[in-house]
Symmetry: C2
């Protein structure tokens, strides 16, 4: 307001205002993550982001080349939240499991991650992603795993696919304004109908529905599903560890 009018009167001189925290790349990225977390990737616009920082939209371009670049920065920033344990006394399965769960947690906290990765891929080599990869490589190398990079790729692909789907689902739930349980209940009739006439799918669906009823909480059920698949993969990888293998 007053800021728009440079000098209304010579007597009301600048006095520099309470010195805004200024505009910096870090501040922009941080605020962008806040917007993305709150309203998703399609709600992030340079104008709105600028407004939230008490700045014009185009000012952001002094610190960030392009919106896509900003998103890449946000992506890598968020990878920094993933802790990977040192390969230590604990067995490798526990370590890898913890890492994968951390990855999933981060993906669910920032539910835009999936769509961004789907568009940009993981080719961009940000420092935090590199750091996470390094820690994971350490985990597999420590137990003498024959092809660590393939093992990592396998595990991460699973985690990514699972978490992305989960995140998209949770976004849909949240947009509906209902709780997860309510949403699932409301979806049941449509699902029943879609499944009718499909013998095996109906059976699998019935099992899943029974699961849902038995579970105390949709979230814990999702945790269990995630852990199931992860254990399947770790079992498969364990067979490839040297020295403990019937045949090949």
């Amino acid at each position: 307001m007053a800021a728009k009018n440079p000098i209304p009167s010579v007597w009301a001189r600048p006095q520099r205002a309470p010195e805004q925290p200024a505009l910096s790349r870090d501040a922009i990225v941080r605020e962008a993550i806040a917007v993305l977390d709150a309203d998703g990737v399609e709600a992030l616009s340079m104008r709105k982001l600028g407004a939230r920082l008490n700045a014009g939209a185009t000012s952001l371009y002094r610190h960030v080349a392009t919106k896509d670049e900003l998103i890449e920065l946000a992506l890598d920033e968020v990878f920094g939240e993933i802790p990977v344990p040192d390969p230590g006394a604990a067995d490798w399965r526990a370590d890898v499991t913890a890492t994968c769960q951390a990855f999933r947690t981060t993906t669910l906290r920032h539910r835009w991650l999936g769509s961004v990765i789907g568009q940009a891929g993981l080719v961009y080599l940000g420092p935090n992603l590199v750091a996470v990869s390094e820690r994971m490589a350490a985990l597999f190398s420590a137990v003498g795993f024959p092809e660590p990079s393939r093992a990592i790729e396998t595990v991460l692909s699973y985690v990514l696919g699972m978490s992305t789907t989960e995140a998209a689902f949770l976004t849909t739930v949240m947009r509906s304004g209902r709780t997860e349980a309510e949403f699932i209940a409301g979806l049941m009739p449509a699902a029943q109908e879609a499944v009718a006439g499909h013998e095996f799918l109906a059976e699998a669906f019935a099992d899943a529905a029974a699961d849902a009823v038995a579970a105390t909480d949709p979230a814990t059920l999702r945790n269990a599903k995630f852990d199931y698949g992860l254990n399947v993969i770790l079992d498969g990888l364990a067979l490839r560890l040297p020295g403990r293998q019937p045949n090949s």
Copy 2:
């Protein structure tokens, strides 16, 4: 007014043109898929799509409620390309492998699939997706798998994560205008630098680089990586088959 005049001369009468194929939901979806395949999801605009069909942009809205709905239709249409074998004499591993490879092939043919799924999730229950799911459920049920829906979820998550990453990578390659081999070669220096100082990652990276040199073709190397992870998962699942101890 005169400029707007729809009929400059009576003789230039409409005569209905050579009867365009008209505008139908199917035709729109088909053309949308063509655009998506050619130029990706961010290049699909209602105006351009309309133009390609010799129609105005807003005409499309008579057949499709919204752009998002159109994309959902395209998504399900594309799922129709995935064949799933009947559970037959062949062993289940071969059947599941074939299905997963078909899924991957489709994802790589329509490289926008990943980003769309990341945004929309798989909650929408289109008929073709339901059909694919049914066939997969049949595959697992036929061998008496204890929790078919969890097995399916595990396998599909892996396939989705892997294919999405692959598709994003291929898109980047294609946009660069270089061949895949050239692109990888050009990326090497940056990757080397990013990996420097990361002990285990450097090691894994060296292995991967050796792989790349040994492979005759980047595409066959990608195939091998995909099959590796898939086999890991199938091994893990095999352990859960009833009445059977691990066997290769």
